[in-house]
Symmetry: C2
Subunit: 344 residues, 2 copies
């Protein structure tokens, strides 16, 4: 999923996303709640209508954002009180309110409020945050059932978020309790928060092995090309990550032969496209020297061309993965890609 | 002409320009000479190839840019010595060198080096700058003839630049001498440099009345919608202006009912398009509240959507003007538009 935190995948439009092959994007309830405000999006007829996106939308609750501002918030079992990073106004959000926001946004996939932790977290902290996350998960499901019959297929989906930091016993308890409550899909939260990669993969593998496999599994906020390949190998179905657009805005292109730092002087007279194996509109029309010139000249169009190329690369990567899964040769694809991307 | 100073119409791509109906854009020899450097563009096969633009290109010499940096340059009849605004390196450009750069860029319309002045300019200064501009015009034509036979139609065009500040006798001498040298078209330089609008229009009218009318007339760097209408009324054929894209980047839309400051709070829940009379892809797909949200959230895509809408508006304005000229009712169009745009 490309990330449209504030209702826009940075530098791109909804038609760019379609052209790149996406049908599902991620947005953020917390950000949209603060700006432009839920009433405005409700008035438009939902987030899809507001941003002119005819595909599906998953909204994150914004728990991660709230808990990233340690000095701005007060948390209790009731919910979380925080100051807006925009105007300093005070807000109080409960698990129920966070769902209500997402109902109003008309999200297709709803994430409940949870309490993620930074790495490293002590076991006591991890346990306390997990208890609260599980309590909120239960309340979220109850609140959801007030509005939607779970048997009715014409409704948004509600995912559960597995926490427990780096502690396997906590992750196990999280899985068991969430399965008991019952969700449409499960997300691994609290990874890619500063821990070593090997530990990330270990947690994901552990969760995937211990989870009911007929529901989608989503890893939140993780996504170098190699991460995605390792995640899929473990059994993960969904990813979101700002990496392709953030790298685009800082002048780096993803190619089938590794990352290309376009700012680098070696590309100053490179009249070839960013990637000879890519057929996106950027690679069909523009040479690397021109894109480098745009980036060096602080031209916005350079950020846009690189961002588009990168999300197209990710879309094609997912396509290759689906083909490999169908043909049973994912291992081959992973070893091929790891030559260029393993070091990350 | 949309302005692609550094080889990019800000926030837009070449396909956007085509979609908006343009076939001719303006770029700047001075800027491209400094970055990325002429050799790189030459290696690509010219500026059109480098930036992936299959339309025509007019390049300004950059005289205006050089003379804007009073403390960075030394000027003599030979040419102008200046420091790069990018890295401080010293450069010396002669009228001949400026043409050579534009030959290498493969510009379709070439502007010679001239010496513009800020407003107000004393008559002595204006006379001295005009003498130099005319000397350089003569040398430019001579240099041009070393490479191209003026009878040969398969060659770039060379325009002459009329200077003379606000002094009619100087403007008249400028016109007479330039006509004597003979150019493919004529440009009015040294307007829109701080003088009152009424004076701008007076100079343009004066030049248009005193000029051989079988050659195109181009007013440099002027272009509110009302300016363009008044210019066409006087007999001007070509304009360039950064206004549509600059206004786009600062959150203002041009509409058929005047300018719309999209940042304004009154648009916060406006679910209509920017302009109900516009059929550009932005107006077909996006509501004003969303574009306002993007601008307020510093999302690049907001700048792009507004910039596109604005250059589309200008393209349609030129289309309306052409129709009005054909049908002999330009006056009607001017009075209609002046209701919304005269105050500028």
């Amino acid at each position: 999923m490309p990330v449209a935190t504030q209702g826009s995948v940075k530098t791109l439009t909804s038609s760019d996303l379609r052209e790149a092959g996406y049908g599902l994007i991620l947005s953020n309830a917390y950000h949209l709640y603060l700006r432009p405000g839920v009433e405005i999006i409700e008035k438009a007829g939902g987030l899809g209508e507001f941003i002119s996106w005819d595909g599906l939308i998953l909204t994150d609750s914004g728990g991660y954002q709230v808990f990233s501002m340690a000095d701005l918030r007060k948390v209790s079992d009731d919910g979380v009180e925080f100051s807006s990073h925009i105007d300093g106004s005070r807000h109080f959000l409960t698990p129920e309110a966070v769902l209500d926001i997402q109902f109003k946004l008309k999200s297709n996939i709803i994430m409940p409020l949870d309490q993620p932790l930074a790495y490293p977290a002590s076991k006591i902290d991890a346990e306390r945050a997990l208890d609260r996350t599980l309590l909120w998960a239960k309340r979220s499901k109850e609140h959801f059932l007030k509005y939607y019959d779970f048997e009715n297929k014409n409704r948004p989906l509600l995912f559960g978020i597995i926490q427990g930091a780096t502690y396997k016993d906590l992750r196990k308890r999280s899985i068991e309790e969430l399965l008991g409550i019952g969700f449409d899909g499960y997300a691994v939260g609290g990874v890619s928060v500063g821990e070593p990669k090997s530990l990330t993969y270990e947690i994901i593998n552990y969760v995937a092995l211990n989870l009911d496999r007929d529901k989608p599994l989503y890893v939140m906020g993780m996504g170098t090309p190699y991460d995605i390949l390792k995640g899929v190998e473990a059994g993960v179905d969904m990813f979101d990550c700002i990496i392709p657009t953030r790298h685009g805005r800082t002048g780096t292109a993803f190619t089938w032969r590794g990352k290309k730092v376009v700012r680098n002087a070696r590309y100053k007279d490179d009249m070839l496209s960013l990637d000879s194996e890519c057929d996106c509109f950027v690679c069909r029309n523009y040479n690397t020297a021109y894109i480098r010139h745009l980036i060096n000249s602080s031209e916005i169009s350079g950020l846009r061309l690189l961002s588009f190329h990168n999300i197209y690369f990710y879309s094609k990567l997912m396509e290759k993965i689906r083909v490999a899964l169908r043909e049973g040769n994912l291992g081959e694809l992973i070893s091929k890609m790891s030559v260029f991307y393993k070091e990350e």
